[in-house]
Each structure stands twice: as structure tokens, then as C-alpha cells.
Amino acid sequence: MKNIIKFILRMAVVAGIVVGIVFAINHFTGRKDALLVSNKSVDANIVERYVESATDVESYIESNTAKRKRIDALNKINTVLIEYYNHYLTNSIFENSKDEGFAKSIVKEIEILETKIDDTKYYMNLAKSNGISQTERDLRVNNVINFYLAQTEQLFKINDMLKNYVYKVNYKFTSPKSVYEVQLEMIKDYSKYVFDNEINGKINADNLGDTLSSPQQNGFLKVYDKFMNRQKFSVNGDKETKLFDRYSSITNEYLTEFYNHVFDQQGYIESVEDMSMKNNLDALYNYIMQSSF
């Protein structure tokens, strides 16, 4: 009897050790999605709610006004941000290394975004109420816009974190891995520039003046249209590959300055003296402006 008990105990210990080893191997080497996107810890429906939150706000603003134009640009910026978010969220589900701390901080920021979306939606519903005066409605619409701006700012922040997370945990290099990501980065950078300089804190301002022909805003609309209508199956690989190759050697600050000048002064590129920088900007300008893409 004693021997049988000893035997069973030994087997139990061996089994426990084997299970422990298997568990440890799986835990430390198995692929895992730390954001738990595939298990819906990050709510995949957040995008839907984001889009719905400030829906129709522009219909409460007179068309052909500077304010309306800025709201339209803000909607376009958000279209870009959502595509950016979806792209990097998708790529976050693959892990070559782990950073659970970083993943947790992203989840926290997404939770903050969810409350901001709820706020925007709440104030949008208030703005849609019946039986209020035009003055009251205008005030409520301005309020919605402020929450919409806050929501947008939060998504900019999350997107940067998501991208850095994916570069760290998934990619082997800390730079865009494809032409598509370069395109996304360009349009996102330009959107941020326009958001910070033309839109955030400015939509509800008095005396906006006529900004219909602002080079920055018009430039953004042109680049946005190009981005949205780009051929996804690139016919001319050469132009896109040059863009990819050149983009990685251009700094953000230089790009911002480029956008600032490109629609304003075409001769800007010619005046650049550094040959390699000139080639980079030339490729960038051609890519944006030539209709074959």
C-alpha cells in the first residue's frame, strides 16, 4: 500500500513538472496578442462609435463659411486617423517580442477615448434637440465641436503609441515597412500640421477671416484626395518605390516645412542646396502632384 502511494505521488510530481514546463514554454514563446484585440479586450466596434459620435455636426453650420470648411477638413482628418488606427491595430496582433507594459498603457488611452466618444455623442444629441432657439443651438454645436476636437486629439495620441508599439513588438526595423505605411505617415503628419495650425482651438474663434485659399488647407485637401484615390495596386512601382526610399531619410520637421511651402511656392525645391535632400523632396513633390498615382 505504501509503495503504491509513493508511486502515485511520484507520478503526480512528474506530471506537475511536465505541465509546468509546457506552460512556461507556451507562455514565453507562444505568440500572444498583448492588446487582446483578437479577444475583444480592445473593442473592435470603437471605430463605428467614433464615426457616429459627431455625425451631422456640419449640417448645423452654414455652408461656404470658414467654419464649415474647417469642420469638413476635420472630418477628413478623422477619416485618415481611423484608417491609420485600423492598420496598426491589425498589425499589433503579431508579436516577435513582448512589452505588456506598453500594451497596457495603450489600452488605458483607448479607454479614455471611449469616454471622450461618449461625451461627444451626448453633446451631439443635445445639439439635435427640438424646440430650442437658434442661439442656443449654435452654442450647443460649438460645444460638440470642442468635444469632437478633444476626441480627435486623443486619437492622434493613440495612433502614435500604436505605431511605436507595432514597430517595437512586431517589426524588425523601426521604420515604415511598406509604401502604404509611408503614404499613411505622410498624410497623418500633414493632418496633424493642419489640425494644430488651422483647426484646433480655431474653429469656434471669431473673425476667422477668409481661409478658403489658405495654401496649407488647400494643400491638405489636394494631398488628401490623392491619398484617398490612390491606386492600391500600383501600376508604376518606380514612383512609389522612390517615395519609400526617400521618405525614410526626411525628418518630420523638414516635411512640415515642405508642406508649408509646396503649394505656396513651387520654386522652393529648386532653392534647396543639399543635393540628396533636393532629390528626396523632388520625389515627394512628384509623387503628390503627378496624377498618374
Binding site: S38, L89, K177, Y180, K232, F233, D245
Partner: protein, 350 residues
């Protein structure tokens, strides 16, 4: 006495342990691997009189296309009989069908790897890995040859009412054909690991002969893997017909446009069939160096994404894609792949 028994057991165990480390693979060199591959190819060909697999032992060299002839022979028979339920194998087994084309592509890659010249020493572990993968490939070829013989036997007994044994053997054959492609990939990857030690993927200020060759061959390998994973493994569909612009509709008896046609796969096939390397660069060719350095980074990104793709495909096939995330990833990946393919063609191979 007890001590003696323990000593004998210990000595036997030690001998086994040492012997285990002395396999053919662990002592092989690259020439052994090449010879093993050549011998393997020699063995599997057709006896034109009996249409059964014949095993050669002599020096006669056989065209690598003999591997393709497995599928072609079966194709010819199916075409003649036009048995119910067998038509869908026609597309995959035909000479220009995806399976044959992929086998040809990866076997061509092997030949090209063999032809790269270098003087550096290769770690024995990597050569052992290559040898073992060729042995594994040999095992699959044997299975494939046996299944082919089984199909031929079943053809002889075929009647319209007794088609099931033949259909079953066709399905078995296809299963090993898929495995063959995977084993060929494994061999190519083993070869690529060897060349990574000679031509490591890092930024260079000047290019040596062989750098561009290795970049192109690695690119072809991983691009082929992409099409294999996306168009064959993921669909798990023996009717995958992505290399034909038009396909025959057996219900309407006419050729119709193929909704699965993948023109980029065809482009890859042309790349593989074309001249391996379009001339090594002249020394100090700034453009070529620039594109090479950009290329190795993009190739590493592609390799990473092929590993991700493999994982995504397995998740989808196991019904673990509730939010369509893996499907979205695969949909997006095509932009990167096509862009990279164009990059290699326009900037590296010209």
C-alpha cells in the same frame, strides 16, 4: 557484479550518444548536399513503356521537369476519361497549373543557390540542416511516386460506377503534392540561411559579387511563399486557379474570366524563369548600392510578414478570426508584396 552491469550500461549509452552525433548529415558538406539532391532527382522519373515510376541507378541525368511530369501524366489521363468529380483536379495538375509552377519555381531556386560561388566557411550546423531537409524532401517524393502509381492502377480499373478509388487516390496525391512544395520551400530556406552567413543582410557601402544575387533569390523565395500561403494553403481548395486568366467552365462548356486570377503571381513566375541575376553591379554604382540597402530592409520586413502570414492563415483555418483581423491583415499585405515585387523588378533586376 552490480557495478559491472552499471558500467556496461553506461558505456553502451555513451557509445549511442556519440554515434547519434555522427550521422551523415552532421558530417556533410555542401557538395554532399548537392549530390544528395542530384541523386534524388535521378531516382524519380517515368518508364515510358509502363508509365510506372522507374528507379534509376545509373549516371543518366534527368531534367528537373520530371517532377512536373507526375502531374502531367495524371492530367492527361483525367482529361481523357473526364470522370465525374475529377475535373477540378485538371487546373491544379496541368503543366501550367499552380502546383506545378510552384514546384518548378522552388526547384529552380535550389539550382540557382547551388551556382553562387563563395570562399567563406559555413557553420556545420547549417549544412546539417540543409542535408536533413533534402532527406525529408526525398521522403515526400517517394510518397508522391507511390501515390502516382496507385492512381495509375486505379485508372486501369476505372468505370463510371467505380470512380471512388480513383478520386480518393487523386486526393491523396494532391495532399503529398502540397507537402512537396512545402518541403522544397524548407530546402530553399535552409540554403538561404547558409548564404545569410556569407552575404548577411546589412547596409553596405560597396557591393560584392553575389550580394545582388542573394537579394534576388531570397526575394523570389519569400514572394513564392506568399502566393503559396495565400492562394493555396489558405483556400485549402484543390480548385485554386490563380495563374489562369481564363478557366474552363464545365457546366457551360466555355472559357470564362477567372475571378481568382493573380497577375502578380505570373510576374513572379517570369522573374524566376528569367535570368538569375541581371549582371552584378559595377563597383561604386551609387544607385545600385542605395537600392540594395533599401532592398535588404524591405526583404527583412517581408520575411517577417510571411511569418505573420503563416500564423494568420493557421488562425483563420482554425476559426480563430472572429474580428476579421487576420483577414484584414492578409488583404493589406498584398500592397506590400506587390510594391516589393515591383521594387525588385524595377530597381534591382534592371
Amino acid at each position: 557484479m552490480k557495478n559491472l552491469k552499471f558500467t556496461i550500461v553506461a558505456v553502451i549509452l555513451a557509445c549511442l550518444f556519440v554515434f547519434a552525433g555522427c550521422t551523415k548529415a552532421s558530417k556533410a558538406n555542401l557538395q554532399n548536399c548537392n549530390d544528395l539532391y542530384d541523386d534524388m532527382i535521378l531516382k524519380y522519373t517515368l518508364d515510358s513503356q509502363s508509365n510506372k515510376t522507374k528507379y534509376f541507378d545509373d549516371e543518366e541525368r534527368v531534367d528537373l521537369y520530371s517532377l512536373n511530369s507526375f502531374g502531367t501524366e495524371i492530367y492527361n489521363y483525367i482529361n481523357t476519361i473526364n470522370a465525374d468529380g475529377s475535373q477540378y483536379y485538371l487546373n491544379t495538375l496541368s503543366k501550367d497549373g499552380e502546383y506545378n509552377v510552384l514546384v518548378h519555381a522552388v526547384s529552380e531556386l535550389f539550382l540557382k543557390w547551388k551556382n553562387i560561388s563563395f570562399t567563406q566557411e559555413i557553420p556545420q550546423e547549417l549544412i546539417k540542416n540543409l542535408y536533413e531537409n533534402i532527406e525529408s524532401l526525398n521522403g515526400t517524393l517517394k510518397e508522391l511516386a507511390d501515390r502516382k502509381d496507385m492512381i495509375m492502377t486505379n485508372f486501369e480499373n476505372y468505370t463510371d460506377k467505380n470512380s471512388i478509388p480513383m478520386l480518393r487516390s487523386l486526393k491523396e496525391f494532391n495532399k503529398y503534392y502540397l507537402e512537396l512544395i512545402q518541403k522544397f520551400f524548407n530546402v530553399s530556406v535552409a540554403y538561404e540561411k547558409i548564404y545569410e552567413t556569407v552575404f548577411p543582410s546589412k547596409t553596405l557601402t560597396s557591393l560584392r559579387s553575389g550580394d545582388i544575387t542573394k537579394l534576388v533569390l531570397s526575394s523570389e523565395l519569400y514572394l513564392a511563399k506568399y502566393y503559396y500561403l495565400k492562394n493555396i494553403v489558405l483556400t485549402n481548395n484543390y480548385t485554386s486557379r490563380f495563374s489562369f486568366e481564363n478557366v474552363y467552365n464545365y457546366e457551360t462548356n466555355e472559357f470564362v474570366e477567372n475571378e481568382y486570377y493573380d497577375a502578380n503571381f505570373k510576374q513572379l513566375v517570369e522573374m524566376v524563369n528569367g535570368d538569375a541575376i541581371m549582371g552584378e553591379p559595377e563597383a561604386g554604382n551609387e544607385d545600385k548600392i542605395f537600392y540594395y540597402n533599401a532592398g535588404i530592409q524591405r526583404l527583412e520586413n517581408l520575411k517577417n510578414n510571411i511569418a505573420n502570414l503563416e500564423y494568420a492563415v493557421s488562425q483563420i483555418k482554425n476559426n480563430n478570426d472572429k474580428n476579421n483581423l487576420y483577414k484584414n491583415f492578409i488583404d493589406e499585405l498584398q500592397y506590400e508584396v506587390q510594391g516589393y515585387q515591383a521594387f525588385i523588378l524595377n530597381n534591382i533586376m534592371k
